[in-house]
């Protein structure tokens, strides 16, 4: 630990050279821009800029590319809050309360708390990375297909009712997500399923298309329906003083930020859809332990602060498997692995000893990058918050245009645009019946991974279901899931004579 700190100090020396500070700044700026545009995510952004780093030395190159990665994570929440358009998996949850806050004229505090929460989470995450990287990476290896499946089941059941409205409706939407997730090539045998001979359906339904459709386009349609007078009066023009969080906001948020950081850091170590599980869990926990759960869904600042911090912490811990094991658990770190290979650095068990300068330089630059991003983002808050002053009759068509171009840029696919528009219609009609989009997206993300892990486990065990119950970690998740389902039944039995009912809170 002491030795690590010494080397970290050396790393700061490398990261604070004028060149590297400059590349860190460029990465952070480009990343923020990429994050703000829906569609172009960190993956495309990094891939696009890899050739530009050929002339740089490896340390500078990785500092810049890593800057794009966490810069994009900072920027991703902006469109969610302002326009209800989630550009990536991680910012779906931010839409729920962030957009409500913006509608109440509190876009400024929502944006600012994202930047502050991300900064705190990033800072704590880096210390976690320095102190615990090797043991945590080894612990992550204990997750095989069986453990992974049980974790997914737990996540699916517990998190599907994330917004806490109606358990029945949430599970219905989650099942729809599961069904949509089966479209495309069968992940185990490679057979085409439900594609009806269409080449475009072979790769399945694109997550971003569904997310932008359900939330962004659906919200635009819902707005179009309102009488024009009501529409223009719905967003209050904020005063300058209201652009930043009040002391009360900060007090409410700080615990949410710390809890979100813990959740995100732990979940980020698990391969796969870490951002989704981290943000959904954080939201659910904040709502459960809140003294005023009725505020959630109406613009509760904790509902923005917690998930945003969880997402950033998950980004930090995603570097642990990459640096220690040489294995990328998430697509953005896979791109970074590619960039490292091009620069002649092979991440893996030998990286810290073979390239200490690069390793500690990049770690230190992450810290500096987080600071740069905070300084960069806070001044933008008033600017972004002013977007909402654009009259809706001009803003709404622009949002649609923005969504369509962003969507096309993801896979250069026109088909994805149609999928997005279709889900816009579905999101609009589902909203009428108080059906939520978040559980559907959860089902869509977890479903295919759950299926793969389930079939892998049974292939390994030659069809014996005992593989799920015979392994301690897997068993623990299954028992936790069972408890979660059974306990409310008992409670319901005891508390029968009560008005309403708690399972269907509306």
């Amino acid at each position: 630990m002491l030795e690590s700190l010494q080397q970290l100090a050396g790393g700061f020396g490398i990261a604070t050279s004028v060149d590297n500070l400059f590349y860190c700044l460029i990465g952070a700026i480009v990343g923020t821009l990429i994050g703000v545009l829906p569609g172009i995510g960190p993956i495309a952004g990094i891939a696009l800029l890899i050739p530009a780093t050929f002339s740089l030395n490896p340390t500078s190159a990785i500092i810049m590319l890593a800057g794009i990665y966490y810069g994009a994570m900072y920027g991703g929440s902006t469109t969610s809050i302002l326009l209800n358009v989630p550009g990536e998996t991680a910012s779906v949850i931010t839409c729920i309360d962030g957009y409500r806050m913006a509608q109440k004229g509190r876009a400024g505090p929502a944006l600012a708390i994202c930047a502050i929460g991300s900064f705190i989470a990033g800072t704590i995450g880096i210390f976690g990375l320095v102190a615990f990287a090797p043991p945590l990476a080894r612990a992550a290896l204990a997750f095989g297909p069986a453990e992974y499946f049980s974790l997914m089941v737990f996540g699916f059941v517990v998190l599907s009712n994330v917004t806490g409205t109606s358990l029945l409706k949430s599970l219905m939407m989650a099942l729809v997500g599961l069904i949509i997730g089966t479209i495309g090539l069968d992940p185990v045998k490679g057979d085409a399923r439900f594609t009806f001979g269409s080449m475009s359906l072979l790769s399945g339904i694109e997550f971003v298309a569904v997310a932008i459709g359900l939330f962004g386009i659906g919200e635009v349609l819902a707005n179009v329906e309102k009488p024009p007078a009501l529409l223009e009066g719905s967003v209050r023009v904020p005063q300058l003083r209201e652009l930043f969080p009040t002391r009360q906001d900060l007090r409410k948020s700080i615990k949410a930020i710390l809890r979100g950081t813990g959740i995100g850091f732990g979940v980020g170590l698990v391969p796969g859809p870490a951002p989704v599980i981290a943000t959904y869990s954080s939201y659910l926990i904040e709502k459960r332990i809140s003294k005023h759960p009725e505020e959630f869904g109406q613009g509760a600042i904790e509902g923005v602060a917690g998930p945003e911090s969880a997402n950033n912490a998950a980004c930090q811990s995603a570097f642990i498997p990459l640096f220690v094991l040489g294995i990328p658990f998430a697509p953005p770190t896979a791109i970074l692995l590619g960039a490292l290979l091009i620069h002649g650095v092979t991440p893996g068990p030998m990286m810290i000893s073979e390239h200490p300068q690069l390793f500690w330089g990049v770690i230190a630059s992450m810290y500096i990058g987080n600071f740069v991003l905070l300084l960069l983002n806070l001044p933008f808050v008033p600017l972004f918050a002013n977007i909402l002053r654009i009259p809706k009759r001009i803003l709404l068509p622009l949002v649609i245009l923005f969504c369509i171009t962003g969507m096309y840029s993801v896979n250069n696919s026109v088909f994805d645009i149609w999928v997005m528009l279709l889900f816009g219609g579905i999101g609009f009609s589902a909203g009428k019946g108080k059906f939520e989009g978040a559980p559907l997206l959860l089902g869509l993300v977890l479903g295919p991974k759950m299926e793969v892990a389930f079939r892998q486990s049974l292939m390994i065990s030659h069809g014996d279901f005992g593989i799920f119950t015979g392994r301690p970690i897997s068993l623990a998740f299954l028992l936790a899931t069972a408890l979660f389902l059974v306990i409310p039944l008992f409670r319901l039995g005891f508390k029968r004579p009560r008005k309403g009912g708690s399972a269907d809170r509306r």
């Binding site: 696009l48 780093t53 500078s60 892998q456 292939m459």
Partner: protein, 314 residues
């Protein structure tokens, strides 16, 4: 400021609009990669594109069209105008996909330009695995059919087919477990959830260097420069070699002089020390083949893989 200028250039390249063609090439040449950015094929052609641009005097732009295990990109590549401005990365799955599902394309819909890379394939095990060499591994598999679990990067993908073909050649039966890519399969091996994995470098290379994994079977024609102590399967008495190729192709009907011009420029890029250094750093094995030889290789593998997949489906 060199970096900043380069960034601007790349942005402008990505946004630029094609113009009319008169004398080849008058605008940038695009290469379709049928997979997402960041994979081996993507990285190789991104690195090569930068160098090839020097010789073509026009930028080479990589376009990712992922989906359907490569089917979406190949369909687009086949449908592109045969004018030499829209090329496609021709990788082994081009000869695999048409045998698995109904696709609009086969390798015959493309004109071969050149082969760039030949990946040797190999089986890895954990260093503490009970088998010391290939003989022990095969003997154990013969006594315990279907018990050794072998991870691969996806059902019907290249390294899965390698494992199937090796099964036939060695007369053994393995339990194949598909993962969503080479990374996850290596992770599962490190965690002890499978007994072996089928991979191509650079997957698993850092773990071998760190002594956590070792090569139990190398299906290449010759030993690898990075692991000179590891014998090939052939040396150990089993006549079996198999690898993956990554080259470039144009849509059918592209004029021969355009193909020649493209071939010459990309060949020069392959020989360029700048690209050679990048290839070495990525530990990829360059293996040049001209249009004719590359076409013959595709035809041969198409037949071989077709038979293999038919056997798998039974």
């Amino acid at each position: 400021m060199k970096g900043l200028t380069a960034i601007l250039i790349v942005f402008i390249m990505a946004l630029s609009v094609p113009a009319n063609a008169a004398d080849f090439p008058t605008k940038e040449v695009q290469i379709i990669i049928p997979w997402a950015a960041g994979g081996a094929t993507d990285l190789i052609f991104r690195a090569m594109g930068v160098t090839a641009g020097k010789y073509l005097n026009k930028a080479v732009v990589v376009v990712n069209r992922p989906g359907g295990g490569g089917a979406v990109g190949y369909t687009d590549g086949m449908k592109a105008k045969p004018d030499g401005y829209m090329l496609t990365a021709a990788v082994t799955p081009l000869c695999i996909l048409p045998h698995q599902t109904t696709t609009a394309f086969t390798y015959r819909d493309f004109e071969p330009i050149l082969n760039v890379v030949s990946d040797p394939s190999m089986f890895l095990v954990r260093s503490d695995a009970p088998w010391k060499d290939l003989r022990e591994f095969v003997d154990y598999a013969k006594k315990n059919p279907d018990m050794i679990t072998v991870g691969n990067s996806g059902a019907g993908g290249g390294v899965h087919l390698v494992a199937l073909a090796f099964e036939n050649a060695a007369g053994i039966q393995l339990n194949h477990i598909p993962f969503s890519g080479g990374g996850p399969s290596v992770t599962a091996l490190l965690g002890g959830h499978v007994n072996a994995v089928s991979v191509t470098p650079p997957e698993g290379v850092p773990q071998i260097k760190a002594g956590q994994l070792r090569v139990i079977a190398l299906f290449a024609n010759q030993r690898l420069a990075m692991f000179p102590d590891v014998p090939t399967v052939k040396e150990q008495g089993l006549n079996f070699t198999m690898g993956m190729w990554r080259g470039l192709a144009a849509p059918k009907g592209t004029p021969p002089d355009v193909i020649q011009k493209l071939h010459d420029s990309f060949k020069k890029a392959m020989d360029d020390p700048e690209f050679q250094a990048k290839a070495k750093e990525m530990s990829i094995l360059l293996s040049y083949l001209g249009p004719k030889d590359f076409g013959a290789l595709m035809a041969r593998d198409d037949e071989f893989l077709g038979k293999l997949i038919k056997g798998m489906k039974k």
